[in-house]
């Protein structure tokens, strides 16, 4: 089992390099480079050449990437074009916002989605049909639309939670939690839809297995069959889709952060895109990739724990 995790971790490192190299290459395709962006349209050719040399932009692409990667591994992701702050400082601050947001949404979506899915699978056809409809709508509504509606209704109109803004945890834990409630709620709607449908289908599938009948004949109570046997088996496919749920939640988080004015990685990415802040956008892509890799590793470990087929294979 440790072997699997190590192998996946190694693959993750390769993936990280691939993503950073890809982003780096893509970004170098920019018509007009960082130098012209910094100096504006009125700069002379000499000024541009001087700045390019200063920034190392005259070097070949692979060399630039290599240098960037070496310093990135040491924690130096360069300096933002727009602000004098080091990129790493900026992003780490954003991480402190994005991580609780994304994790909160995924955990909440998994918990509510699983409960709904199990309930629909065991309690009959009507609820199951209703879940189909609700899931369809939940997955169809754009997350940023939900975010805007929640912000307007519960933030502006009712004033229950802050409509925008963020309070760091050390400053005031209560306000911190309050500022995350609406963004997490907005983000987990799609997730709940996805998880509940998936759970319902996999519980249905397990319930139709012969071993459930054998256990019933044996006289095991429905509750023990459900919690002891069925859920354990249904969890296996459910964990497999959690990785996908996490990636799509991060996608939604980018927009939710913009809507609620949270200074997370997503807001940083949006600002960097608008100002064409190349070092920042490359670093943000790497950060997101790193988050996904770590989450997938954890999920692999859980997966191996739950599914004996994976555990006993190595």
């Amino acid at each position: 089992m440790l072997k699997i995790i190590l192998r996946r971790a190694a693959a993750g490192v390769v993936l990280l390099f691939a993503v950073s190299a890809l982003t780096f290459t893509l970004v170098s395709l920019i018509p007009g480079d960082a130098a012209s962006a910094l100096l504006g349209p009125n700069a002379s050719e000499q000024q541009l050449t001087a700045l390019r040399e200063q920034l190392g932009l005259n070097l070949p692409l692979w060399q630039r990437y290599f240098e960037w990667a070496v310093s990135a591994v040491q924690g130096d992701l360069g300096t933002s074009i727009v602000s004098p702050q080091p990129v790493a400082t900026q992003l780490n601050r954003g991480l402190a916002v994005s991580i609780p947001l994304a994790f909160g949404a995924v955990v909440l979506a998994s918990a509510i989605g699983t409960a709904l899915g199990v309930y629909a699978a065991t309690e009959g056809r009507w609820l199951s049909k209703a879940l189909d409809v609700v899931a369809l709508i939940g997955m169809g509504l754009p997350p940023f639309w939900i975010a805007l509606v929640l912000s307007n209704v519960f933030g502006v109109e009712l004033g229950w939670f802050p409509a925008t803004g963020f309070v760091p945890f050390p400053d005031d834990p209560v306000l911190w939690a309050k500022s995350l409630v609406l963004p997490i709620a907005a983000l987990c709607v799609g997730g709940i839809a996805m998880v509940s449908k998936q759970t319902r289908d996999s519980v249905d599938e397990v319930l139709s297995k012969e071993f459930v009948d054998v256990l019933r004949v044996q006289g095991l109570s429905p509750r023990r069959i459900l919690f002891g046997h069925v859920l354990r088996n249904a969890a296996i496919p459910a964990i497999a889709v959690t990785g996908g749920l996490f990636v799509s939640t991060l996608s939604g988080a980018v927009l939710a952060e913009s809507v609620f004015g949270l200074p997370g990685l997503g807001s940083i990415a949006v600002r960097a895109t608008a100002t064409r802040d190349v070092p920042v956008i490359v670093a943000v892509a790497c950060y997101f990739c790193l988050i996904v890799i770590v989450v997938n590793l954890v999920l692999d470990a859980i997966y191996a724990f739950v599914d004996p087929k994976v555990r006993t294979r190595s």
């Binding site: 369809l136 009948d213 927009l255 087929k309």
Partner: protein
Amino acid sequence: MTEPTPLATGVIVPTPEAAARRAQSPLLQLARRRPLAFAALVYLALLVLVAVLGTVIAPYDPVSGNLAESLQGPSWAHWLGTDQLGRDTLSRLIVGTGPTLLYTGQVVAAALISGVAFGMLAGFAGGYVDTFIMAISDLLMSLPGMVMLLVVLTLFQDNMPIAMVCIGVLVSGFLMRVIRASTLSYRQETFIDAAAVAGLPTSLILGRHILTRQLGTVLVQASMLTGMALLLVTGAAYLGFGTEPPYPSWGLMIGDGAQIFGTQPMLMVSAGLAIACTVIATGLLGEGLRDLTTERWSGARARARAPRRLRRREPAMALEQVDQPVNTLLSVRGLQVAYGDADLGVVHGIDFDVAPGSTVGLLGESGSGKSATARAILGVLRNGRVTGGRVLFNGTDITGIGEFPAARRTELGIAYISQEPHMSLDPAWRVGAQLVEALRQHRPELSKVEARESALDLLEKVQMREPEEVFQKYAFELSGGMAQRVSIARALCAEPQLLIADEPTTALDVTVQAEILDLLRDIQLRTGMAILLITHDWGVVADMCSSAVVMRNGVVCEAAPIEVLFSAPADDYTASLLASNPAAMPTREQREEERR
């Protein structure tokens, strides 16, 4: 003479109905079998029409408004109201459809081309190419779409078509995987090899024989991708990338609507609904198309979905009391079983008895209702129910045992082993844990250690060679014979008076079959339990049973001691079943002897 005449021409002419069914266009099939998906298709087609017509059908100028009419709700003049600048929301929604769908279309087209091309390449080329492309697909799937979109927009925000094509390629990772998988499965078919042997160029094989068959898959994925792309495109537009104001797009309108939500929510609601309806339509269409192409619509899906109740329900009917004959363990009287929502009868009132300690065979061909009978006795009918009759066990009425409280079922002492030994064990539990669970359920006084000891005893009793080792294993690590032994061991935990064995040896090798039957007989000698053996195999009946019940089409043809059945079957069907039994057929030597 309108009837087809197959004999005269030697060619089988399809019946008119079959021909009509085949000639039916996919569109009509969709409309008939998946009306919801068809409605979604119509909606999407209309949406494209709206996008193309745009300003032609918009009732007002979408760009300049009348400030005197700002922030209005729905009215006859402005069906969906107006925004802060007095612009007609409906007109803006109509004109905004164009750029929104255009960008979405660009993303989808690029994703389809990239996904299909790389997926087919990976599936067809195999080897390093396959490994490399799949690594790329993994990479693309592990990046959040919105983040990729922002990276791309950093580069190409002045040139939306290029940005959309880039993002299309970046979101095609999943499609690559799907296409690769189906290419692989088509590739393994013989006709592809035949085509290659016949000298058809690879490009032609790929293009004509593989690509055309992917069409269904591609359509399904295209539909799903459209929904995802629309969410990305409107998200980007909301962030300010895409259509420049004052020109409308759906994403921009949501941004506008959010600002006036407190005073006039109509703009926000209509723009959100436009997006949601479109995404939902693509989802419905995708699901409908998938069902059509995989032909899962045929009811297999409905069956898989049919929720099965784990909870106790009241018995469906009140039946008259019947007394159980003396010296019988199990008595079935007038049992009727029906399946499905239509209550299709499969067992039509059958009677038989099982005496204590005896072995009774329940015999019949597939579909004769023998398994339904067994499941009805056990109370685990799937999607079916007992519609009449009684099942008596040891003097108690156990009809509808499926709804009995768990504790009552535990007491009764009926055990069950099934046809597929692997399927009857929980795949996520170790063998030992399942035995311990069963043991402690019947004897709660056992401690964990005692239960473990007893479980190991039981494994030895079913002649498992290394009980300690098997105890730690999972079902999938066992051979069929071993799994069936474990099933028997678990059945024995209940110290049953009756064991119902549904084709216990059908899935096993011949030598293992004999071992399992020996084991059952051996256990029966020691414990004195009765066995109801469901089988289609006369050999097994002859080997094991003292009497047998022959079923056909849900009724009992004959029930008799086996000496009578084998020597003088009273029923014609029993006789013909016996005659068709391969074991009873003359061997080659016998046949040759006869010829001499």
